[in-house]
């Protein structure tokens, strides 16, 4: 059975996090929120064709990012992992370059935005194929094990919809059979575009499925970054020390439409969204840090201003970049020069 960890209550449960780390989590959440807003804004202004939002996932991702060891671990993210991408070191400029499809995008303007990759930082390249990345994550964990690089782990997030895919099950099963250092983080926002969780599975928690693979499954409050940090940190530590894979499910909610091309009013009751907004993890965490005396209101305001300025600067800088040159369409098909017919 899945265990539940929560870190609510009057006292801030610090979970071994320093004031600086807690503040860094808040900053990351604020930056994530700002960049999300920017993506949707730019789309409405007709400046970019498409954006995906991660509003409602800030606590899961910024908390989980704190459990990631830069330079050691590898993140195989999915498209909604803006906060994880930022949290492990990707810059707003990189994110915006991808939104604008400029040449400075890591993917060279080839993929939709939000398909994060940064080899140096340990952010593995992904496609848009749901759960296609899960077996890759398992393979990366297998490489760590093969090279006896203990102390390294892979973080592989998905939505709950992705866990209906055979590839997710194959990845979890393989990792379990081979005791690989990997954490399958499920960001359960209850919706896969318009399909609710109840049409995706007959169990209450994705984490309940862990028993079927003989590995631990944990449910945590995905609206509380400290709870998410604790659950992901414990699972990553377990993986790093040879304990094998686990599933961590963070319950959260998606506030925005699936993407700028989606209108969630066609399938979601406004009332439900408004109810959920009352538990918006971003202001809530800010209030908590203030109440706990970790930052004061002025410092919080400064953080908000800072990330807005950072976002504005990155927007201008990215927008000013040129598009990729047309002839880059023909590069990087394979190594070197490529022709299907060898001449």
């Amino acid at each position: 059975m899945a265990k539940t960890t929560t870190a609510r209550g009057p006292e801030l449960e610090r979970a071994g996090l320093s004031d600086e780390q807690l503040t860094a989590i808040l900053r990351n959440m604020l930056l994530q929120r700002q960049l999300d807003n920017r993506g949707f804004q730019l789309n409405r202004q007709g400046k970019i064709p498409f954006a995906l939002g991660s509003e409602g996932h800030e606590a899961v991702q910024s908390g989980a990012a704190m459990a990631f060891r830069r330079g050691r671990d590898v993140l195989v993210p999915y498209y909604r992992d803006l906060g994880l991408a930022l949290g492990v070191g990707m810059s707003p400029f990189e994110i915006l370059s991808s939104l604008f499809a400029r040449q400075t995008d890591r993917n060279g303007g080839r993929q939709f935005p939000n398909h994060y990759t940064n080899h140096e930082l340990g952010v593995a390249s992904i496609s848009s194929i749901i759960a296609g990345h899960c077996t890759h994550a398992t393979g990366i964990a297998a490489a760590f094990r093969y090279r006896k690089e203990s102390g390294r782990a892979v973080l592989c997030p998905t939505g709950e919809g992705a866990t209906s895919q055979g590839e997710w099950h194959e990845a979890v099963n393989y990792a379990s059979v081979h005791t690989l250092p990997i954490v399958f983080l499920v960001e359960n926002n209850q919706w896969a575009i318009s399909t609710p969780q109840t049409m995706q599975m007959r169990v209450a928690n994705v984490a309940d499925k862990a028993a079927g693979y003989g590995i631990p499954g944990t449910v945590c409050d995905g609206t509380d970054p400290v709870a998410t940090y604790r659950a992901v940190h414990a699972a990553m530590e377990r993986a790093r020390s040879g304990g094998g894979p686990s599933i961590v499910e963070a319950k959260c909610y998606r506030f925005l439409s699936h993407s700028t091309d989606d209108d969630d009013r066609t399938y979601r009751d406004r009332h439900q969204v408004e109810e959920q907004r009352k538990h918006d993890p971003v202001p809530r965490f800010e209030e908590r840090l203030i109440a706990a005396g970790i930052i004061d209101a002025a410092a919080a305001k400064k953080l908000r201003n800072d990330v807005l300025r950072e976002t504005n600067e990155a927007t201008d800088a990215a927008e000013a970049q040129p598009y990729p040159a047309p002839d880059t369409l023909y590069t990087n098909v394979v190594a070197g020069d490529y022709r299907p017919w060898q001449e």
Partner: protein, 336 residues
């Protein structure tokens, strides 16, 4: 290099022995190389290709996987992205469909979609083809399902020496390679193989027999039949040039065009279904580049357009192209 690996001379071996020794030497040479798939461990794979490897290299390098093709390829992709050189085995080509997404949607696009930030140096080996009483689900040719995909290299060598050189090249290749081994040639084809390490460049066809009157392009088991047919026709004074394609993608334009411009007649032979097969692409290329050099319409001799060959011998024989049919096609084309 292993101590046992001889550096000079040649030795005679079958196709299956060539696969086995090449894999063995690759494992001995490079610690990044590992083999994964169903039953590759203590069983030594269903064709005994990896027999003894488990004992010699251990379970860390000869990995029995769960029975799940998408993860065999997907996990191998992750390993390759992380710098290893996995050789993933699909037990029979017929079972590659569950891994289609991983091969086409993921492996072949890794470099492209990340603009070179990540690469995928992976080899997927699989036995294909019929004529072994393998029936519906142990006889298919899959090359046409994959050769439409940029980013994927597809090799189908048919002799032991070519298998060694091209498998070594595949393992060295910084991008994903689908390596096809025709089952019927595993034990029926024997040949001299140079000792020591060598590679054959990917994308180069090989003229296995020179001739004047007709050019034949083929690969796999059919290639050996085509050579037999061509040799039979020598007695009749018909001189056939036989090209072994070896590399399906990329394909060797120069060798095909040079031959066609010389003989002015082209016959393409492959076991895979005719409709939309490799022969269609070769025909289109030759029509585009050398139509006015031709003295006869291009001909294709291919597997019939039915889903698979049957288990019953007459159904299998009806599907497979006979050497007699090849002789007939070459003769009539020469006379055209």
């Amino acid at each position: 290099m292993t101590a046992t690996e001889q550096q000079t001379g040649t030795s005679v071996m079958t196709n299956v022995e060539a696969v086995r020794t090449t894999l063995h030497d690759a494992l001995a040479r490079d610690e990044r190389v590992l083999i994964m798939g169903e039953d590759v461990g203590s069983r030594g794979n269903v064709f005994l290709i990896t027999k003894g490897f488990f004992e010699e290299f251990g379970p860390e390098r000869i990995i029995d996987t769960p029975l799940a093709e998408a993860s065999i390829v997907g996990v191998a992709i992750g390993m390759a992205m992380e710098g290893l050189r996995p050789i993933a085995e699909i037990q029979f080509a017929d079972f590659i469909y569950p891994a289609f997404n991983q091969i086409v949607g993921e492996a072949a696009k890794t470099r492209y979609r990340s603009n070179g930030d990540y690469t995928c140096p992976l080899v997927i080996r699989t036995p294909y083809g019929g004529g072994v009483r393998g029936a519906l689900s142990h006889s298919v040719s899959i090359e046409a399902l994959f050769y439409h995909v940029p980013g994927l290299t597809i090799l189908a060598p048919s002799t032991p020496a070519d298998i060694k050189g091209l498998l070594n090249a595949a393992i060295e290749c910084p991008d994903p390679v689908l390596f096809l081994e025709h089952k019927k040639t595993y034990r029926s084809v024997k040949g001299e193989v140079p000792c020591g390490y060598y590679t054959i460049p990917i994308g180069k066809a090989d003229v296995k027999k020179t001739g004047r009157d007709v050019s034949v392009v083929s690969y796999g088991y059919n290639l050996h039949q085509a050579l037999d047919a061509a040799n039979r026709l020598e007695g009749e004074g018909v001189s056939v040039e036989v090209i072994d394609l070896r590399s399906i993608r990329p394909m060797d334009k120069t060798t095909i065009l040079e031959s066609v411009r010389k003989t002015r007649k082209l016959l393409i032979i492959h076991e895979d279904n005719k409709f939309g097969g490799i022969g269609a692409e070769i025909s289109a290329m030759v029509a585009e580049e050398a139509l006015f050099d031709l003295d006869a319409p291009i001909r294709r001799l291919c597997g019939p357009d039915v889903p698979a060959m049957g288990y019953a011998l007459p159904l299998e024989e009806e599907f497979m192209i006979s050497t007699d049919a090849m002789v007939e096609a070459m003769r009539s084309l020469a006379k055209f």
